[in-house]
Amino acid sequence: MLIWPGFELRVALRFLREGRMQTLLIIVGVAAGVAVIAYISALISGLQSNTLAKTLGAQAHITLRAPDDLVTPAALPVAGAGRLTETQPRAQRLRSVANWQALVPLLEGLPAVAGVSPMVSGAGLALRGEASQAIALMGVDLDRYDRVVGLRSKVISGIARLAPGEAIVGRELAADLGVRVGDRLTVQTGSVSGTVTDSVRVTALVDLGVKDLNRRTVIVPLRAAQSLLALPGGASQLDLTLKDVWVAQTLARELQGQFPYKIESWQETNAQLVSALNAQSISTAIIRGVVLAVVVLGIASVLVVSVVQKGREIGILRAMGATRGQVLRVFLVQGAVVGALGSALGLLLAVALIWVFTHFVRGSDGLPLFSIALAPATALQVALIASACGVLAAVAPARRAAALDPAQAIRM
């Protein structure tokens, strides 16, 4: 027989109102727990997306290179015979990704891929007057490269442009060499066959977010790098940027199965960062779990006491015709109400904490550290979980109340 639980709601709310101080304390307790969970979630997700944005902002999600040169054994082993070998690994030459011009449109056609940028990169020197600095030379097509790392947004002076004979350099390198936008510098590369030099004009200075990168980066047109690094018509790597950074590993594995190249996702390149993020996520989950457990225990202990206090009233209700189910639901509703009210209050508290964080916590440069916000989906999820925990916490006390023997309860 399904009837509107008007009785349960009414009695549950009245019981809660009657236990004023007790109810208030537990709601505040739940609110504190919910606030901690929501705040930690927002903080960690803000921190992680900030770290990711900083890390991935200057690098590709997937990099595709020519396979490494391997030493192949001269003779096949004879079956059953033991063999002792000592192989000197080969020095890796700079090699082009075979057939890369055909590969670019193919990769661009993949639904997960947002952009593909060919690059020739190698080591060199930047010279100006007496100064010389070791550099990482990168030859790119500016528009394509911009799509991968958002280079134009990292320009701090000048205008990003890569016509023949032009270059974009890192901020620290420019300072070390004493060049400003519009100045010229000489780029030199060398190999056993001799050195190659080229003179370029600086069109823009960029800040890639990492000082070490800023001290070494010189970006030139693809063609210029091809001739400087003796790789005419070649590309030493293809950089891919994806619509969703988290599919990088899967996609990299898939591509590895299809093409004979060396394909790495950003997760493999930044294995330490990924494990740090994972450790952080796990710690967050543990904290959330422990706080939830504390919330559940708090609600349960208050309701257990309430069942004892209300024993006689429960007995009267049963004598008046309340079913065991109704008594059970009276206490489950109390758990749900405490959980829901505590959640609402806790979310408000979390929003306040986040506001305090974004307005008052500053980095050494006086700017906010990073932005954190409570996503509505997270807020809803936390609130639902906390309310569900309220009901869960009420199960044991409610069962106890429902199991009370009415004749005994009335005599209490």
Binding site: G6, R14, I316, L317, R318, G321, T323, R324, G325
Partner: protein
């Protein structure tokens, strides 16, 4: 009422033991047989420990008997499960306890409408009106919105009586309804029960220690050591005129 059987309660050889199967097992009711017809007003008397409360709890379906049979309002109740017993209790019985036992968080009117709320999940206008008129009938027209804590003992007991009657049960069980009241309130409450009996034909089984009150019932059942020692009609229930009721 004409179609309903005249017999309301039929107990046959009812026994009740506590701590069954343990060394401390004790039988408190030794084969009670009792018939109550509709409209009877019965006093249940006996010294402490004679089993009155146990018998009342069994009649009220709050405790299960160990053996014997019980037919309440035509329905065999031994063997029913808890849910069925609860529904049967809801339909057939009203309770009035010694210590009023109102819910302190609810007003007098809300206490009286609780049985309707628990039966249907809401209180209809008709039921609310009925609760109001019952409270008015027990002399509490001015105190409907007061909490039990704001009412005197006698007033609380009258609220409890109104609550017992709100679903119009054929039987009201009262466990020393005046035991906790002073003599004046006690007489008032008892007179109220008699008046309701006279007006509505509701049957009453009233546990009491007070021989003067018992003398105003229609039938006296006396329990001693778990056995019925006396079961007799009382010649003339002394009923005060309705005007004597301070309502």
């Amino acid at each position: 009422m004409t179609s309903a059987p005249q017999e309301l309660i039929a107990l046959d050889a009812v026994r009740k033991s506590y701590n069954q199967g343990k060394p401390s097992e004790a039988e408190v009711l030794h084969g009670i047989s009792l018939q109550v017809r509709r409209g009877e007003f019965i006093a249940l008397m006996g010294p402490s420990g004679s089993g009155k409360s146990t018998l009342l709890n069994i009649l009220g379906l709050l405790e299960r008997m160990t053996s014997g049979s019980y037919r309440l309002d035509g329905e065999v109740v031994q063997g029913l499960d808890d849910a069925a017993l609860t529904l049967c209790r809801r339909r057939t019985l009203g309770f009035v306890f010694q210590f009023h036992h109102l819910l302190p968080a609810f007003s007098a009117l809300e206490n009286v409408t609780l049985p309707a709320l628990m039966a249907e999940g809401r209180v209809s206008a008709v039921q609310r009106e009925r609760a109001r008129s019952l409270l008015a009938a027990v002399g509490l027209a001015q105190a409907m919105d007061k909490r039990p804590g704001e009412l005197s003992g006698g007033m609380q007991q009258r609220v409890a009586i109104a609550r017992a009657l709100v679903m119009d049960p054929p039987l009201v069980l009262a466990d020393e309804p005046t035991g906790n009241l002073d003599t004046a309130s006690s007489a008032e409450v008892f007179a109220l029960l008699r008046r309701i009996h006279a007006e509505r034909g509701t049957s009453f089984v009233v546990v009491t220690h007070d021989p003067r009150l018992a003398a105003r019932c229609d039938r006296l059942v006396e329990l001693i050591d778990g056995r019925i020692a006396r079961d007799e009609a009382i010649a003339a229930g002394v009923e005060p005129a309705p005007g004597a009721l301070a309502v």
